[in-house]
């Protein structure tokens, strides 16, 4: 039970946020309350006791302001193990979000209460206690069947656990440790490795030292030696599970509707040894034959390691896509694997001809070995909006040879564990909201730990950078910080991944240093583009080699490259897909260096990255149009502002416009790219400028934003003309130039079914080239590289 507010405040006029604009970054929340009387407020140091654990603890601070004068309540020093946010200054309510389980041993923070007469500070101490035994359970779930033999054991608790009580035995024999695994009802126990503790010490992962045996029943136990951080022991828990008959498993099947979508399914090696895929083939309906008896397709010779996944995908009809360790492309002569809502896949062992695995959907077809399937067929949705969806087995690869094994996933997970838990994506980031919760993963990735949150549009961007001594080619952390800061006020969280570039720690991930384990240095190529045919490197070759297939559903891929020109000389600053997920930033040979001009180096990288990302998010150089150089379109998408940053409204706001046309009014830029990167302004537009009719300009209004000053559009006669006709964006015409609300119109799903979206495909095989004309329209479908989209929920 927390503290109680010690006074009742009379009706006040609340002016939320007015002071927040002026507060320092350390200040969390500021509220201003006005009243005619003026007496000093009081607030004492206080301890809030017996707090129960929660990821976010809520309580109230006691204080008094009996004269009900205007006051502010702010946090001046955060806790050592958690972050405090004042949620209601009127009542003293606050949220305390734990960043470490160490908080449970106690934490404190400092708040400051001020009115116009005085200021008082107090230390708020937090003391946690919990005498209720923690509730724990294991995955694999109790009585689970057909569990993969390479499975980890995951213990979940509703309380943080005392890490010192989490023990395992590192050699087989007499059972010991607080977490035990046995194949003989605990007469003896197996050796375990770990533990790995995460999620505020509520999740513990251990792994059998040896691969589990096939078709064996195991028991797992957590003993009462295990306690929560307050010393309260758990009640001993025992669960059982059985392993499967290990083999190569059909683990997920992608949804397809249009006929030129390249069908895909996923295989999982559930055995304890590497499998050569060439030892297997599969049978499915094929196009163009469309016979229910199907066509046999051979798999290529390629090792699939134990516990690993590979995507099997239809080869493109007019292009040949190379296999790699994440995806193999399949055809048989002129026949291609094919299914819609109806179809089947039968996995066959080549040597014996035995059916190894089978799934059917929509209709009953029947496997060669009748025992490979029983009961009704599974259901695979196939519609114009089903792209990116799939059916798949659960995370344990459960296999009972029936439709019960197969669950619809929206979205699917490519080449990774099937851990989708819901289809709701209310924040439009192509990640199911429930997979962004604490302790959850998506496609095997711990996105919560990486910073994703439900209710926030999370944009993940892997950045690879070419090996070059040119400093323009290596992303600066300050540049990435600037981009993150530009998006943050709009409830959009940018999560960069440059690997170990900043933390230089190959063993550990660190989201604060943009290390999500994927970004890396890649070989230098003088010139690069999207599927060039003139000797330059192909972006998509880099993507195939250095980008994890499991990320394709929601990650953007960006290369900091040298140049787009074959000889490597300086050229265009960047290139990006419109409504897509692929970006190239090319600032090599621009003469950028920290020694030469650190601010320019940082600012150019930041603003070019944001500009190209804006293209991925659907923005053109004029916002919703290609009309460039509109001075009233205050966005880094506008060439006038991309490298110069945004002007300061009311303070020579036309300075960038004059610099662009190099007229006599050009002056030194205010907060230009050579000025401090902390004052350089990156932003998209919010459509708050007035439209500028080039046949009837009023210079005295400037861009018409709040606080705007006059702008001498034609650089003649001062900024006083009111019915001026001038071509101010130098496009050889006089039209009405409009602003655009970029922030309200960002496309975060890579374009969905947009005709503009190529979904990351290789451009040498254009997506609008149909290779199969059935059943109806194909021109809007996506192909070959992978479907990299997810429809927004209806």
């Amino acid at each position: 039970m927390g503290a109680v507010l010690s006074f009742v405040r009379p009706p006040l006029i609340v002016a939320l946020g007015l002071l927040a604009i002026a507060c320092s970054p350390k200040v969390t929340i500021v509220e201003s309350v006005s009243s005619p009387t003026q007496l000093a407020p009081t607030m004492a140091d206080q301890t809030l006791s017996d707090l129960a654990f929660a990821a976010t603890v809520q309580d109230t601070i006691s204080f008094s302001d009996t004269d009900s004068s205007s006051f502010t309540l702010i946090v001046t020093a955060q806790g050592a193990h958690g972050s405090v946010t004042i949620t209601d200054a009127d009542t003293g309510a606050f949220d305390y979000a734990l960043t470490s389980a160490d908080a449970l041993s106690g934490d404190s923070f400092t708040v400051q209460l001020s009115d116009s007469t005085s200021t008082v500070s107090a230390v708020i101490s937090l003391a946690f206690a919990d005498g209720t035994p923690p509730v724990v359970s294991f995955t694999p779930l109790d009585a689970a069947a057909n569990v993969a033999i390479a499975s980890d054991l995951v213990l979940s608790s509703d309380d943080p656990l005392d890490s010192e009580t989490i023990t395992v035995q590192n050699s087989a024999g007499v059972c010991s440790g607080s977490i035990q695994l046995s194949a003989d009802n605990f007469s003896t126990c197996l050796a375990l490795t770990g533990p790995t503790i995460s999620d505020l010490a509520r999740t513990v992962t251990v792994a059998p030292t040896l691969i589990l045996a096939e078709k064996t029943t195991y028991k797992v136990r957590a003993t009462d030696a295990l306690t929560n951080t307050f010393g309260t022991a758990i009640a001993t828990v025992e669960q059982g599970f059985a392993t499967l008959n290990a083999y190569l498993i059909i683990n997920e099947v992608g949804s397809s509707y249009y006929s030129n979508t390249l069908r895909w399914f996923e295989l999982y090696n559930a055995t304890g040894t590497a499998i050569d895929l060439a030892e297997y083939s599969f049978r499915s309906i094929s196009y163009p034959a469309l016979l229910s008896s199907g066509t046999h397709f051979a798999l290529p010779s390629q090792n699939l390691l134990p516990g690993h996944y590979v995507v099997v995908r239809s080869q493109h009809a007019t292009g040949t896509y190379a296999d790699n360790n994440q995806v193999v492309y399949i055809k048989n002569g002129s026949e291609f694997p094919y299914w819609t809502a109806d179809g089947y896949i039968e996995l066959i062992h080549v040597g014996s001809g035995a059916t190894i695995d089978y799934v059917e959907f929509g209709q009953n077809y029947g496997p060669t070995d009748a025992t490979a399937w029983s009961g009704d067929k599974a259901t695979l949705i196939s519609s114009t909006s089903s792209f990116g969806q799939s059916i798949g087995r659960d995370a344990n690869h459960n296999d009972s040879n029936s439709a019960a094994d197969w669950t619809a996933f929206n979205p699917g997970t490519f080449g990774s564990v099937n851990d989708v838990e819901c289809a709701t994506d209310a924040d439009f980031d192509m990640i199911p909201d429930c997979n962004e919760a604490a302790g959850k993963t998506f496609a095997g990735m711990p996105l919560y730990d990486w910073g994703a949150r439900p209710g926030v549009t999370d944009i993940f961007i892997e950045i690879d950078y070419m090996n070059s001594i040119d400093e323009g080619v290596t992303p600066r952390k300050e540049a990435l910080d600037s981009v993150v800061a530009a998006f943050a006020p709009h409830n959009i969280a940018i999560h960069f991944d440059v690997g170990d570039l900043y933390d230089q720690d190959s063993g550990n991930l660190d989201p604060l240093d943009f290390d999500l384990g994927g970004g890396q240095q890649v070989p230098l190529a003088n010139g690069i583009s999207f599927s060039p045919v003139d000797g330059r490197a192909d972006f998509y070759d880099y993507k195939a080699a250095y980008f994890n297939y499991a990320r394709l559903q929601f990650f953007h891929y960006l290369i900091f490259a040298n140049s787009q020109i074959l000889d490597g000389s300086a050229g265009s600053s960047g290139l990006a897909e419109l409504e897509g997920n692929d970006i190239i930033v090319t600032l090599g040979n621009w003469g950028l260096s920290a020694a030469g001009d650190l601010n320019k180096l940082i600012n150019y990288q930041a603003t070019t990255l944001m500009h190209e990302l804006g293209h991925n998010l659907g923005l053109g150089h004029g916002g919703n149009e290609s009309t460039n150089f509109k001075p009233n379109y205050l966005s880094v998408m506008n060439y006038t502002y991309q490298l110069r940053g945004l002007p300061t409204i009311g303070s020579n706001e036309g300075d960038r416009m004059h610099a662009e046309v190099a007229d006599a009014c050009a002056t030194t830029l205010i907060n230009g790219p050579t000025d401090s990167y902390t004052s350089f302004v990156l932003d998209f537009s919010d459509n708050s400028s007035i439209a500028l009719d080039e046949t009837n300009l009023n210079e005295t209004l400037g861009f018409g934003r709040t606080g705007s000053g006059a702008v001498d559009f034609n650089c003649a006669n001062g900024a006083t003309e009111t019915a001026l006709s001038a071509d101010i964006n130098k496009d050889a015409s006089t039209t009405t130039l409009t602003d655009h609300d970029d922030w309200a119109n960002l496309v975060t799903d890579f374009g969905g079914l947009s005709t503009l979206s190529n979904q990351g495909v290789q451009l040498t095989a254009p997506v609008d080239t149909p290779f199969i004309v059935w059943p109806v329209r194909v021109q809007y479908d996506r192909s070959p590289y992978i479907v990299e989209t997810l429809q927004r929920p209806e």
Partner: protein
């Protein structure tokens, strides 16, 4: 138009104006500009490259300019489509040699203001005078402007779903004075 000398006159004036005024090899690609960490003093010819300060011009098929007691100046004008450059040599505050690599117009340089109209390059050397078309070469006040390279209009657009940020113009001009 007092400074404008038409093309036939250029040929007549070449020998007397400049020993290096012979026809230059035809460029199939523009001179590429690279930055190097090493700083060069004056002008250095290295194989088929020309190095000035920390800039390399490659290939350099024109004459190597003299640089006795000269000052080397380089300026860059950055645009999203790529940087424009001017590199110049001067003595007693007078520019006698310059190389301009323009990817934007209008492009204000120390040797004039370049603009592009109807696929034609113009240079305005005096604000009080009209811009003059620069088709091949031009002599103004004993100074020779030579158009080394000019990009053709974009031969092909990129795919509709790719942002096309290549420059709309690209030209290179060599400037020499007696």
């Amino acid at each position: 138009m007092m400074h404008r000398i038409l093309l036939p006159a250029v040929a007549l004036g070449c020998a007397s104006l400049f020993t290096a005024c012979q026809a230059l090899p035809q460029l199939t690609e523009p001179v590429a500009i690279f930055y190097t960490p090493e700083m060069t003093q004056g002008v250095v010819a290295d194989s088929d490259e020309l190095r000035l300060k920390n800039i390399r011009l490659s290939p350099w098929l024109s004459a190597i300019p003299d640089c006795l007691d000269c000052r080397v100046t380089s300026r860059v004008d950055d645009r999203p489509s790529g940087p424009s450059h001017q590199v110049s040599l001067s003595q007693a505050e007078k520019i006698y040699w310059a190389f301009v690599n323009g990817k934007t117009t209008p492009y204000q340089t120390d040797i004039g203001r370049f603009s592009f109209v109807d696929q034609q390059l113009y240079v305005q050397t005096d604000p009080a005078q009209a811009a003059v078309k620069l088709t091949d070469s031009l002599i103004v006040a004993d100074c020779h402007y030579q158009l080394l390279w000019q990009a053709q209009p974009r031969a092909s657009a990129m795919a509709a779903n790719i942002s096309d940020e290549r420059p709309f113009v690209h030209f290179q001009v060599l400037y020499r004075c007696n």
